[in-house]
């Protein structure tokens, strides 16, 4: 197809312009601040300090490493479970049954709920005196006063469940959509070959979903890595920093301690890590290579 050479540039021009104005400059300024001492509570100390923030981060700040480890755990557990449950859910609502439309609408609905509201709802639900566990205790299940957010043993699973509530539908929607685009004759051919339900899933369904799974897990992983609001509101990163992710640590430094310089350095570290893993992931998964 021959076409004018400027056409694609004209088409992406508005996006480029928006990105240049609203994303490039702010991102550049984060990098700039990461090389500064910049704390609004002590403006007289502000100024260029080179790589000092990074030196402190890498050599003197155990919380940086701790939060990085927790971030990794959070992303892996969260994205893994969301993918698994999302896939199961998509397979279920892809079946034909009465009331399927309504069931789909209902199981997908948490996706539409905002972060502030999700945490609000779950604070109500987890509340030890007026929440679900108190109600269950009154029915004789569990003990009264159970606080899943207060007990170091349960705070992580409780937070994971909350994010699953909102995150699973994202995968379910995308995967359901892709399931529906599988031509029926592929299944029929497999059935002729004598493949059972499980075999058909492995040899037909999964390969077809591959690209969708790669892209959605990547987008979701980035998103979960940077997801601050939910953990911040539910646990505040506690108890004793056990649930502090890197971006949550950034928020505590930049917002609570007003230390934008160090917060920016942490952000740059997060950026580099995400970039590295994204490229690695796309390479290793051979994304886009059609079998």
């Amino acid at each position: 197809m021959r076409t004018k050479r400027w056409a694609p540039y004209a088409l992406i021009a508005p996006t480029l312009l928006l990105m240049a104005v609203f994303l490039v400059y702010p991102i550049a300024s984060v990098v700039h601040y990461s090389l500064q001492r910049y704390n609004v509570t002590q403006p007289w100390k502000n100024g260029f300090i080179g790589l000092e923030n990074f030196r402190v981060m890498l050599t003197e700040d155990p919380l940086f490493w701790q939060s990085l480890v927790f971030s990794a755990k959070w992303v892996v557990v969260e994205v893994g479970l969301q993918l698994l449950l999302g896939l199961v859910l998509a397979l279920i609502v892809n079946e034909t049954f009465i009331g399927r439309g309504l069931a789909r609408a209902m199981v997908f609905s948490p996706w539409a709920v905002s972060g502030v509201l999700t945490t609000g709802i779950w604070i109500l639900l987890y509340n030890p005196s007026t929440g679900i566990f108190q109600q269950l205790a009154e029915w004789g299940i569990g003990s009264p006063g159970t606080s899943v957010l207060g007990d170091p043993a349960t705070v992580f699973p409780a937070t994971v469940v909350t994010e699953l509530w909102r995150g699973v539908p994202f995968f379910a929607i995308l995967l359901l959509a892709d399931l529906q685009s599988i031509p029926n004759d592929l299944y029929e051919a497999a059935a002729v070959d004598g493949a059972g339900r499980w075999r058909r899933f492995i040899s037909v369904t999964l390969p077809h979903l591959k690209d969708a799974i790669i892209l959605s897990t990547l987008l979701r992983a980035v998103w979960e890595f940077n997801n601050v609001d939910l953990i911040y509101t539910l646990t505040g990163g506690g108890p004793a920093n056990q649930t502090t992710t890197l971006p949550l640590y950034v928020a505590r430094k930049a917002v609570d301690s007003h230390d934008f310089g160090y917060g920016s350095a942490l952000t740059v570290a997060g950026f580099v890590i995400l970039l590295f893993f994204s490229i690695l992931y796309l390479r290793l998964s051979k994304f886009g290579s059609r079998a």
């Binding site: 609203f22 702010p26 209902m106 709802i121 109500l124 892709d178 690209d211 509101t233 994304f287």
Partner: protein
């Protein structure tokens, strides 16, 4: 029997997991403060009165709606243009552009607040719904564009070529052949954008400093403050914020699923 185990039981369990939190919110919204009744009876609307008339959820609702609709329109149009360019053309800098799109997702919005604020002030976009629309569009567009390019790619290029052979210009061919095919995709990308904008808290709070420009998530966060804890109001506000999106979502999810099945997230 196996169908019950395979289908009905897991579905019922998952529905329970989805709906119990919603029900909990509804119960808090409809029963008087201090009550712990599991069935809110008699129903009280005092919390709705508090949020709607007391803290101005009426205004917040209107603002959220205007912003979300604006974002929906702009993200749809711009992602269609950019997605088409990515899928149908080969051009210098294409790969770089893609990586740049992805990179924009790597930095949390909270770290960009101050520089963004300065830009907004310079271009006169503070305290306006237009400004919030622009900010949301800028942040939603990269993702929408990646998704949209996948949809476009999955529509056979032959369709378009056939139309152009028939004497259509590329533009005519796009409107005559591609757009009808992309309708479901637009629904999908549009609803993602709508929901993203509807739920944005930080930008609305930071780039607006006027009570009549705040949005629903700002209103919700009022009910969680020190000295202002009001679970009834929080829940009632939550119902106000959730019901419209959940309803809209229930209606469009049919198109959404069709739309994505037309091509979905194919690189």
């Amino acid at each position: 029997m196996s169908r019950v185990l395979r289908l009905h039981v897991p579905l019922a369990l998952y529905l329970l997991f989805t709906l119990v939190p919603f029900y909990w919110m509804l119960v808090f919204a409809l029963r008087p403060t201090g009550s712990t009744a599991l069935v809110p009876w008699p129903i009280t609307f005092e919390h709705f009165d508090t949020v709607w008339n007391g803290i101005g959820f009426g205004t917040f609702f209107y603002n959220s709606m205007v912003i979300a609709l604006g974002v929906l329109v702009f993200v749809s149009v711009l992602s269609l243009m950019g997605g088409y360019a990515l899928a149908r053309f080969k051009f210098r800098g294409q790969r770089l552009f893609l990586v740049a799109l992805l990179c924009t997702q790597f930095i949390p919005g909270a770290m960009m607040l101050i520089p963004l604020f300065v830009i907004f002030r310079e271009v006169g976009l503070l305290n306006s719904l237009t400004g919030l629309i622009v900010a949301d569009v800028a942040f939603q567009l990269p993702l929408a564009l990646i998704l949209m390019s996948g949809f476009v790619r999955n529509i056979p290029v032959e369709l378009e070529e056939a139309a152009m052979v028939d004497g259509c210009t590329r533009l005519r061919a796009f409107f005559a052949v591609m757009l009808p095919q992309l309708k479901p995709a637009l629904v999908a990308v549009g609803s993602f954008a709508f929901i993203g904008a509807w739920n944005n808290f930080l930008f609305a709070l930071m780039f607006a400093s006027r009570q009549d420009k705040f949005t629903l998530p700002v209103g919700l966060s009022y009910a969680l403050g020190e000295f202002n804890t009001d679970f009834g109001a929080l829940a009632a506000g939550g119902v106000v914020a959730a019901v419209p999106v959940v309803l809209v979502f229930a209606v469009v999810q049919r198109f959404l699923v069709q739309g994505l099945s037309a091509g979905a997230v194919k690189g």
